[in-house]
Amino acid sequence: MLLLIQYTLIFASVLMLVALGGCFSEHSGVINLGLEGIMVIGALGGALVMRYLPASVGPFPAILCVLLGAVMFGVAYSALLAVACINFKADQTIVGTALNMLGVAAATVLVKAINTAANPDDVSSEIQYVEAKKNFLVNIGSFEFNWFMLIAVVMLVVAYVVLYKTKFGLRLMACGEHPQAAASVGISVYKMRWAGVLISGVYGALGGICYILAGVSLWKFENGVAGFGFLALAVMIFGQWKPTRIALAALLFGFFRALSNVYFGFPLLMSLNIPGSVYNMMPYIISLIVLAFTSQHSRAPKAEGIPYDKGSR
């Protein structure tokens, strides 16, 4: 039971972080379908830091460095989306999809190159971080507390405050609702949208590094992040683009994702004799059902997905 709660919380943290990233981007008017790729690249940044950081730096500086590495990679990567979609008015769906493909391919090529350079016989795309991972964990009884659970809550509060209580957040949301009106009162729509996408890079990257630290202590970059970027978008839609609701939605989805990790620990579930694949499918099926019921009356930002053109009315 404790294990189920633990996994639910950690997966919910991942989904919440990434969904909040999507939330920032969409409120500024850019649909970020590349979150999956941003997660992979962010995870890569963090994993590389864990690989090269000497064990002597101590837990807190180490955590800070890992987070910083992930965020830097994620922000740089999300700039690719921003420049294409905002400045060159490219189709946001194509570019987002390209970033997902590119993220996995680039991470695989890079990690394989590093592994092969270190040892010519090693052609795997894996990075191990058994020791570095321990920095993130605190054992409270048999419950394994992960610092990311706290980080996710902090980032949730930050997102709420920034979006609703600051001038910047309100301006950002104006750009996603009616960019021309925002421009007419002197807000630079381009700058705001850039900010939205880059912030989604920060959140997406944090979600990515959190995801690969959940449960396992080595990551095979060929596998990407198993559609978590898209699950997070479903969480965001279910949460109606509002941070507090996103947090609740993330808990629900996290629970179903956690079930597939720990279902064999429950005699009741085992006695039902359902194959493991069904549990693997669960989060995706649930999200489809949830989307079917919530998309009809969705409160999406009105101008999302439409490139901003200064000349149009």
């Binding site: 194509i94 695989t108 795309s125 596998n223 479903a234 079917a292 998309s295």
Partner: protein, 373 residues
């Protein structure tokens, strides 16, 4: 020359070529960073693919092997293209491809069906799977990209579960078609003889090209195609003009799903590959289809060539020097090409702007001359 540049098809071709060249160039730069010694050789190996062999017979055989995997890629690309023409982004092609694989392999191995019924079942299964996305989009307003991705993963796990019943007892791979279900092998139809007795080359190759032509005709020359495109351009206008816009959305995804599913059957009914039931990621075929569709300028005929090119470099990746680089460098290049395809509109705009400017200059010069007289 100027007339030629104004032609839309020529502009699309130029844009695609720019994407390819830039994609290869960026791939080369990445290789340079990894290890500058063999970068040139590696990029050449990717581009050369079967020309890496010096013997003509081996070249033809490996050219055939590239074609075997081009047919399914072309089907996935057509699936993406067809849906895109109706304003839908069918990222679910990857899952529909998996479902097609599942249906055809299961029917062949568990029920002993022949190849034609297997193909038809794949079409049916893929059509139904595509319809799910269509129904969700038409009646519940669910974004087709998100539902498509969800269905990709559901399809993968369902396929693994189902095909586990027809796998080899000692490996995670499905049974060899050649020994377990020879009746389900696609016939060669002379293609195998043509390409140096390569038994993997089947009627799938000419069939996929034929289907590309049919899609072109359907989109450009029929009333249905016109209505579908009108729905894609403006849903409300189409509805106002008396078109059943919901029905059109669903129909589009049924066709797109059937196309991608047929792709899966086209590959796995040749026994070129076996399905691994422990597979933990959705096969890249559907995603590469996106690359091929956009690189082909969203034209079915262009897509034939683009599919071949994408498959050519994907297979070519296997020939890089593995002591320095990995074969995924070709995935990287494909991904960069898709990214650059996002800029196609801008490239066309730049070409047109250039043309307008030169014309204006000419006009001004003519006017100036006129004034002197």
């Amino acid at each position: 020359m100027k007339k030629l540049l104004k032609n839309n098809a020529v502009q699309a071709l130029i844009a695609s070529l720019i994407c390819i060249v830039l994609g290869l160039l960026i791939g080369y730069i990445v290789l340079l960073f990894i290890n500058p010694v063999g970068a040139g050789g590696a990029i050449l190996a990717v581009v050369k693919n079967f020309w890496n062999y010096s013997r003509a017979a081996l070249q033809i055989k490996n050219f055939g092997n590239t074609l075997v995997k081009t047919a399914p890629l072309l089907m996935c690309a057509l699936s993406v293209l067809f849906a895109y023409k109706v304003g839908l982004f069918n990222i679910g092609a990857a899952g529909q491809y998996v479902i097609g694989t599942c249906a055809s392999l299961y029917a062949a191995l568990a029920w002993g069906w022949g190849w034609l019924p297997c193909l038809l079942l794949a079409i049916l299964a893929g059509g139904l799977y595509g319809a799910l996305v269509g129904l969700l989009k038409a009646f519940c307003n669910v974004n087709e990209v998100i539902s498509g991705i969800m269905l990709n993963w559901i399809g993968l796990y369902a396929t693994n579960m189902l095909l586990a019943n027809v796998k080899e007892s000692t490996s995670p791979y499905t049974l060899h078609l050649k020994s377990a279900a020879p009746q389900a092998m696609l016939p060669g139809g002379g293609m195998d003889k043509l390409l140096g007795d390569n038994a993997n080359v089947t009627i799938a190759v000419p069939l996929s090209i034929l289907i590309a032509v049919l899609i072109l005709i359907l989109l450009d020359k029929t009333r249905l195609g016109y209505e579908l495109k009108a729905t894609g351009n403006n849903k409300n206008a189409a509805k106002y003009a008396g078109m059943a816009e919901r029905q059109n959305i669903i129909l589009t995804l049924v066709i797109a799903g059937a196309l991608a599913a047929l792709g899966g059957a086209f590959l796995y009914l040749t026994d070129f590959e076996q399905w691994s039931v422990t597979q933990s990621s959705v096969p890249g075929m559907g995603f590469n289809g996106i690359a091929a569709a956009f690189l082909g300028g969203l034209n079915p005929i262009g897509t034939i060539f683009a599919s071949y090119f994408i498959q050519h470099i994907t297979v070519g990746g296997a020939y890089v020097d593995k002591t320095m680089y990995s074969s995924q460098i070709s995935d990287l290049i494909s991904a960069i090409i898709v990214y650059l395809c996002g800029f196609v509109l801008f490239i066309k705009y730049a070409i047109n702007q250039g043309l307008v400017k030169t014309e204006e200059k000419k006009k001004n010069r003519d006017n100036a001359k006129g004034g002197e007289k």
